[in-house]
Symmetry: C2
């Protein structure tokens, strides 16, 4: 991962509302969560949520799949893993925040 990409992803997560969105999607697990349910849960305007979701989708942290009229959102776990891996590799010193072990996905 390039530094600029990492920064863009950190920026996407660096907003309380978007971090809540992302966390909700992580907790929703593999089945994900529809935009509408996300909106009810977080109690924000639909257009506002849509903008925030777009920010997360653009940087790849969230993916969306249509199911009829509803759009289901999913946290992109592998990308988060890569991002955390980048942070550990580039922004941690041995013996302080590292060693952080990031095992390969089976």
């Amino acid at each position: 991962m390039k530094l600029d990409d990492a920064a863009a992803r950190l920026e996407a997560l660096g907003n309380p509302t978007r971090l809540k969105i992302y966390r909700s999607l992580v907790r929703a697990g593999a089945e994900g969560m529809a935009v509408g349910r996300l909106q009810a849960k977080l109690d924000i305007a639909a257009s506002t949520l849509s903008h925030h979701l777009k920010s997360l989708v653009v940087v790849g942290l969230v993916t969306q799949t249509r199911e009829g009229t509803t759009l289901v959102c999913h946290a992109n776990y592998p990308l988060m893993r890569d991002l955390l891996g980048y942070m550990v590799e580039e922004c941690c010193a041995e013996g302080s925040c590292a060693p952080v072990v990031l095992p390969k996905v089976a």
Copy 2:
């Protein structure tokens, strides 16, 4: 760590210039790096650098110690560890980005 604090720290790192600053400080290791050297290395205006450093200091990711007229900056490793720990705990699902092992500092 609270969600709002995590978001604030991610936002601080979510800017290419600030991420470069932080990475430089990590690589500088325990002795840290003076603001002046950082400025020469990154080739940005002194006032711009000062603003970015302040952002990092405010959220606790960077600490500063005076040595005569020069200000030496240090990456706050334990806080980065906490931040990564938060991300793993709150924003990772078992078996996907987790398991990420964050051993305690000795």
